[in-house]
């Protein structure tokens, strides 16, 4: 049977098990005249879980391990000469050939040796499928039978279900955690490889970024310039422009919405502003590149300013618009969270509305607002698309917002676009950049969350 069929079958089986056991438990209660420990449904759940989990677990094991075992088996049939001293990429190609021959989708001349391996592959696949079907059905059935034997009025099905549920939840949480840890580790390890080729001090403090030179043969790591400072400066510059746009607009609109606007207007305006966050960044990107940047350049030409057609200003402006909702939405929440009693206190002293807002409400909401701004900043730092399209790729060491700059994220993209050798410093540099970016935004987020949490405690 196919794995998907098997999956559905197991689910179906456990559903039936649930219904049957529930019914059985109910009759048991009636016939024996004793009170069950748990509601009948819990016996049903218990059996259903015992029926589903063993089969599904086996299925999962198969999904994870089957592929490598099958290819290993097939490769074992190949003559020694095929594998001796072959590079990993070669072997991977060979495996791909074998698989497509086995599926009958290979076109062209077929080497008899490879054909043999492919036959072996199909054969093993057959066996594996049969084995899986038998094993998983057996497992599910034995789980079912085992659970059935334990059904009696004193059995604490409810507590057992609770345990299983807890294990499942823990499993999900762990999956998320391990994935994150895995990603971080792999970035870290690749970065370490990079730092083996390029000294970490050159990377962190170098003022020149031109990874292309490293592409030339035999020069890897020796003459490519991997100084990250221009990228960090570019990132900083664009993010600053973005924040200069987003913070006043976002904050003031939040104040208007939460303190002055009528509920009806607020109900319409707030979602509209939040839509800004939902526009795909690529749309912002071409808006920046095709509308804002030329507009700025022409404006600059009018008043005698030299603005390059790809500028930090254009990218920053548009990015600022994009992150307005981050600032305004969070600020709005936090302004609303300021207790009415504080406003009343200020009004009762004779403060006007704007005095109350400026001197009491905003200071009280300030930590939350700062948290919102930091989250917006970390969003700006991580933003890629707009910058790729509007700010250019030249790693200028400048603080002039009218010049073209580039950012960490943009460079990661350019480093990885196109054919790459996986262990050239150029490719590995992307991981090091990723690591820097990760650390940067992580710090910002931690800081922001701390501030926000502290504020929450103050008023809960």
């Amino acid at each position: 049977m196919e794995k998907s069929t098997l999956f559905l079958l197991i689910l179906l089986g456990s559903t039936i098990a649930y219904m049957r056991t529930t019914w059985r438990a109910r009759t048991l209660a009636e016939t024996s005249g004793r009170k069950l420990h748990s509601l009948p449904g819990f016996y049903g759940y218990y059996t259903a879980l015992w029926c589903a989990l063993p089969g599904l677990l086996l299925l999962l094991l198969w999904l994870l391990g089957e592929g490598s075992l099958l290819t290993a088996g097939a490769l074992a049939r190949l003559p020694e000469s095929f594998l001796d001293g072959a590079a990993p990429e070669k072997i991977q190609l060979l495996v791909n050939d074998i698989k497509s021959i086995a599926q009958g989708s290979f076109e062209g001349q077929i080497d008899p040796a490879i054909q043999m391996a492919a036959d072996r592959f199909s054969e093993l696949t057959q066996w594996s499928r049969i084995l899986l079907t038998v094993l998983s059905i057996t497992a599910s059935l034995s789980g079912l039978l085992f659970a059935q034997t334990r059904i009696n009025p004193d059995f604490r099905a409810r507590n057992h279900v609770e345990t299983v549920v807890r294990v499942v939840l823990i499993g999900c949480a762990l999956t998320a955690i391990f994935t994150t840890v895995g990603i971080v580790l792999s970035v870290l390890i690749e970065s370490l490889r990079f730092f083996n080729m390029v000294p970490i001090t050159d990377f962190l403090f170098g003022l020149k970024w031109s990874p292309q030179i490293a592409m030339r043969a035999d020069q890897a790591g020796s003459s490519g310039a991997f100084g990250v400072i221009p990228l960090l400066l570019g990132t900083l510059l664009i993010s600053t422009v973005a924040l200069v746009v987003a913070v006043p607009i976002g904050l003031l609109s939040a104040i208007y919405l939460s303190e002055y606007a009528t509920p009806n207007f607020r109900a319409i305006a707030k979602p509209l502003i939040e839509i800004l966050a939902g526009i795909p960044t690529v749309v912002y990107g071409f808006f920046a590149a095709l509308v804002v940047a030329p507009f700025l350049r022409n404006m600059g030409a009018e008043i005698g300013l030299e603005i390059s057609s790809e500028s930090a200003l254009a990218a920053g402006l548009v990015m600022g618009i994009m992150i307005i909702p981050f600032v305004s939405s969070l600020s709005d929440d936090f302004i609303n969270a300021v207790p009415q009693s504080l406003r009343d206190g200020a009004y009762a002293l004779g403060a006007t509305q704007s005095e109350t807002i400026r001197q009491v409400v905003i200071p009280a909401a300030l930590p939350g607002i700062v948290g919102g701004i930091l989250l917006a900043a970390s969003r700006a730092i991580g933003e890629t698309m707009i910058v790729v399209m509007a700010a250019g790729l030249s790693a200028n060491l400048t603080l002039n917002p009218l010049a073209a700059v580039t950012t960490v994220t943009t460079q990661i993209v350019t480093l990885l676009v196109g054919d790459q050798e996986f262990d050239s410093p150029k490719t590995l540099a992307a991981f090091a950049l990723g690591l820097i970016l990760f650390i940067l935004t992580l710090c910002l987020n931690i800081l922001a969350l701390r501030i926000v949490r502290k504020y929450r405690e103050q008023y809960e």
Binding site: G345, A348, G350
Partner: protein
């Protein structure tokens, strides 16, 4: 209480009687209210209130919850203006000057009529800044040392100076509940009001803090006119000279506190103070 119940089998005014009983006027009134009605949208929350608030007196507003005590209290410093669909009609005047008209500037009025709330609500600022806030916005101090003097005096009058004089720069929210409430009283005093409104100022406090505030109210009477809403009849009896009993939006009975508590005229008043409902 037993004696009281025995002596009050028959009251001159029965439960159905809804117009105010007792002497609602005062010889030397600071605030005069005539035919005051308050509506929340359609809801007629407070109906036809006539009452005088005497100078340098404490008047207590009592009554079951939801009867309109807070609503009426907020008419006296126009705090009902901050509630979107709230409407106040009738004549309210302070020292002969009408305060309920749309032409009245609420900013000086609220400086004249201070308010202390049920839950202490110090600003998230330092103790000093909490008290200094009012004088600052009204420009009461011409220089920093003036301001310090106002803060110190206010804290002294609120009986808090000795407890906080060494920690003025610390946040006001770090004080205990009772201290916070006295800080709020100091904050109110700092703008030099003539009247202080208190809406159940002790209901969030423990008995010791409550006793301190009650003593403070008694002292403040020499300088200010005080209107206090309270849930506790003992408190009303202890701190007030006059008492007004509200029920379902009506002012049922008002008179000298001793009179209201020992010989209420209205059957509802009697039932309420003997604890038969509330």
């Amino acid at each position: 209480m037993t004696k009281l119940e025995n002596s009050t089998m028959e009251r001159p005014f029965h439960r159905e009687h809804r117009s105010t009983v007792g002497t609602f006027t005062s010889d030397n009134p600071r605030i005069v209210c005539r035919s005051v009605d308050v509506y929340y949208g359609e809801k007629h929350a407070v109906q036809n209130i006539n009452i005088d608030v005497g100078r340098h007196q404490v008047i207590a507003l009592i009554g079951p919850s939801g009867c309109g005590k807070s609503t009426f209290l907020r008419c006296l410093n126009r705090m009902n203006d901050t509630i979107p669909d709230c409407r106040v009609t009738g004549d309210i005047s302070m020292d002969g000057i009408a305060i309920n008209g749309p032409e009245v500037d609420v900013v000086p009025l609220r400086a004249q009529v201070g308010m202390v709330f049920q839950k202490p609500n110090p600003f998230p600022k330092s103790i000093f800044e909490n008290v200094a806030y009012g004088p600052r916005i009204h420009g009461l101090a011409s220089n920093p040392s003036d301001l310090e003097e106002i803060v110190e005096n206010s804290l002294r009058r609120a009986g808090l100076w000795d407890e906080v004089k060494d920690r003025l720069p610390q946040p006001g929210t770090g004080l205990s509940g009772g201290q916070q409430q006295r800080l709020c009283i100091a904050r109110t005093i700092a703008v030099n009001p003539e009247v202080i409104l208190m809406d159940e100022p002790c209901s969030a406090l423990d008995p010791i803090a409550t006793a301190k505030i009650e003593q403070l109210i008694d002292e403040l009477r020499a300088l200010y006119t005080i209107v206090i809403v309270t849930h506790s009849m003992q408190q009303a009896a202890r701190v007030s000279q006059r008492t007004a009993f509200f029920h379902l939006g009506h002012l049922i009975e008002v008179g000298e506190t001793a009179q209201v508590f020992t010989n209420p005229q209205h059957q509802l008043t009697e039932e309420y103070i003997t604890g038969r409902f509330g």
